[in-house]
């Protein structure tokens, strides 16, 4: 084990400050933070999208959980318990002097769902990022979000070598209801990724107005 009690603690002494670079500090006037979660399979471009729109270099937060090893291969007779650490990349967008948006990328596979409670609680909504060549993981994500009543949009990341699909075709393949917005995007591109977030926000806004009217 590498644990040494004498390890220096980052930021513990004034000589070695740890924390945001001065240019990454939020203004004192910021009072409210909101979050949007970007969820998708491995390699679908979640971190790429976060990086494209974030005003800070994406950071990584970890979550650890000890639990019974469900869905994990194990050898009979060995205690069925695993320590799972999952890293989540996130970025930040200052929206105005009082409001800041955080974007979290999280893996969509079922074994990472333990992360979802803390992550989706209080989130505005989610972006399901999809690779048209690998739709399988998206089915589970979509039904899981529907179960949680978490509003979401589906963004199809345009991989250069992927065959082009019509959105209508993918909508059918994903069994996605008509009212859920679906867009093409290029996660590497700032404007394109920004537009995905705008699409989600407009959708949420329309839902909110509709709900207010029926009250």
């Amino acid at each position: 084990m590498d644990y040494r009690i004498s390890d220096p603690v980052p930021g513990a002494s004034p000589g070695e400050p740890v924390g945001p670079r001065p240019q990454d500090a939020l203004p004192e006037t910021v009072t409210t933070a909101v979050k949007i979660v970007i969820v998708g399979g491995f390699g679908v471009g979640k971190t790429t999208m976060v990086r494209a729109v974030s005003e800070i270099r994406p950071l990584t937060t970890e979550e650890t959980m000890t639990r019974a090893g469900e869905g994990v291969d194990h050898v009979a007779g060995i205690e069925d318990k695993t320590e799972t650490t999952v890293a989540m990349d996130f970025g930040r967008i200052s929206l105005n002097e009082r409001l800041v948006l955080y974007l979290f990328g999280t893996p969509g596979q079922e074994r990472f769902w333990f992360l979802w409670n803390g992550l989706f609680d209080g989130a505005l909504g989610a972006v399901v990022l999809v690779d048209a060549r690998r739709l399988e993981v998206s089915f589970d994500i979509i039904s899981r979000l529907e179960d949680r009543r978490m509003p979401f949009v589906v963004a199809v990341n345009a991989f250069p070598d992927a065959p082009r699909h019509e959105l209508a075709e993918l909508r059918e393949a994903l069994d996605l209801p008509d009212w859920v917005p679906m867009v093409d995007c290029d996660a590497r591109n700032r404007t394109s990724s920004r537009d995905v977030l705008l699409e989600l926000t407009r959708y949420l806004h329309a839902m909110t107005l509709a709900q207010t009217e029926t009250r």
């Binding site: 084990m1 590498d2 644990y3 220096p8 603690v9 980052p10 930021g11 513990a12 070695e16 400050p17 740890v18 924390g19 945001p20 670079r21 990454d24 939020l26 203004p27 004192e28 910021v30 009072t31 409210t32 933070a33 909101v34 979050k35 270099r57 950071l59 990584t60 937060t61 970890e62 979550e63 650890t64 320590e83 650490t85 996130f90 930040r92 967008i93 200052s94 929206l95 105005n96 409001l99 800041v100 948006l101 955080y102 979290f104 803390g118 609680d121 209080g122 505005l124 509003p151 700032r190 920004r194 705008l198 926000t201 407009r202 949420l204 806004h205 909110t208 107005l209 709900q211 207010t212």
Partner: protein, 120 residues
């Protein structure tokens, strides 16, 4: 060095994390804090504080989310939340909680988000 000042000390060994939190799991902290709760210092670092807590007080001169604190300290967010509960109880830091999880966020907030994104 122009990158963010983040030190790599994070052997996330369960023993070490256990010592840091005094064995508390963080489920109570979770009810009080979110990944995007903004933390601002209300005191200067006290030598009596645990080094990790002193680091938090030092870095939160300007608002910083729980997620960012976790990233800069290379500690799991749940551990940071436990450390923050003590700091909050002692009035050393202040929390600016996110909008409470309602069924749907209000229209005015969403309009502010839209405007902000359009200006990006």
């Amino acid at each position: 060095m122009s990158g963010p000042r983040r030190l790599d000390w994070g052997e996330g060994s369960p023993e070490r994390l256990y010592v840091l939190t005094g064995g508390r799991s963080g489920s109570a902290a979770r009810e009080q804090l979110d990944l995007v709760t903004l933390i601002v210092s209300r005191s200067s670092p006290d030598p009596a504080l645990q080094p990790e807590q002193a680091a938090i007080v030092r870095m939160c001169g300007y608002p910083l989310s729980v997620a960012e604190i976790s990233a800069y300290l290379s500690l799991p967010a749940s551990v940071v939340m436990v450390l923050l509960v003590d700091l909050l109880a002692d009035g050393r830091v202040e929390a600016r909680p996110p909008i409470p999880a309602a069924s749907l966020p209000d229209a005015e907030l969403l309009e502010a988000v839209m405007h902000g994104l359009q200006n990006l």
